[in-house]
């Protein structure tokens, strides 16, 4: 069965994520960050930040509410049981700190088929409450047996 590519170009409703101090610390501890700017408010402020700094890969946390409806969209048609995460890219701009409100818009960048596998490429663009871009993500999911 050929891959249905009609959803390529589709854009989803923006979703806003409020970055909490304890969530940043929980994430930083889980991934083993030891830099005190992620864990200690005083250290973050001494380094010139308003509050604890989200590690770069915290982008997956604030992007998740926007990504979920795209991956689950019946028009995209991904069979989750057959899906693997093939690749991931982020480009970062302004740092994210606790207290920020990050709004992410997800879109389907490309859908293609190679060698019996479907390649579903999504893009997320995340901006902060000042309208500055904080991160752009490219998410490549591979679905076997299409």
């Amino acid at each position: 069965m050929p891959v249905d590519t009609q959803a390529a170009g589709k854009t989803y409703e923006p979703k806003t994520y409020a970055v909490g101090r304890e969530k940043v610390r929980e994430y930083a501890n889980a991934v083993g960050e030891t830099n005190p700017v992620h864990l200690d408010v005083d250290a973050a402020r001494a380094a010139g930040y308003a509050d604890v700094v989200a590690p770069p890969m915290f982008a997956v946390v604030y992007s998740a509410p926007a990504m979920a409806p795209a991956v689950l969209d019946p028009e995209v048609g991904i069979d989750l049981a057959m899906m693997v995460h093939g690749g991931q890219e982020f480009a970062w701009a302004e740092p994210v700190v606790a207290g920020d409100e990050i709004t992410t818009t997800a879109s389907v960048k490309d859908i293609s088929e190679r060698g019996g596998k479907g390649f579903y490429v999504f893009e997320t663009v995340s901006t902060n409450q000042d309208g500055d871009t904080v991160a752009t993500g490219t998410w490549t999911n591979i679905v076997r047996g299409v």
Partner: protein
């Protein structure tokens, strides 16, 4: 902070995720896919057991870059390909080499290995070399 000259190696980052790491990462990230947290479920779907979240391993690759470059804001871009699967209680080694430096950005080729196999390959990072 490491020297980010062309050809320089980043300091290796070595980390052994403990038995319950995937549970903590699931909570921290919101990804509760049972292949990461339920041993029996993972085995039922043909895996050797619970496997690491790929994005946890990518976070280790990111950490190797930010530690070498001197802070989270230095990491401007990271692109990775996931390969195979990572396992708890096995040491991960992230290594990297500066391929080129241009316009204040060091481009780093980096990989994550576990038990001699690359679980993140063909990864490329861009690090700011100045403020």
């Amino acid at each position: 902070m490491a020297e980010l000259n062309e050809g320089a190696s980043l300091p290796d980052l070595k980390v052994t995720p403990d038995r319950y790491l995937t549970v903590r990462y699931a909570g921290a990230s919101g990804d509760f896919n049972p292949i990461h947290i339920d041993e029996e479920f993972a085995k039922q779907v043909g895996l050797p057991g619970r496997i690491l979240h790929g994005l946890y391993t990518m976070a280790q690759v990111a950490r190797a870059q930010t530690e070498a470059a001197g802070g989270p804001e230095k990491l401007k871009r990271l692109a990775v390909q996931f390969r195979g699967m990572g396992l708890p209680e096995h040491e991960i080694t992230v290594s990297g080499t500066v391929r080129e430096v241009r316009d204040g950005v060091a481009v780093v080729d980096t990989v994550a290995e576990q038990d001699g196999k690359q679980i993140i390959r063909n990864a490329e990072a861009e690090l700011a070399t100045s403020d």
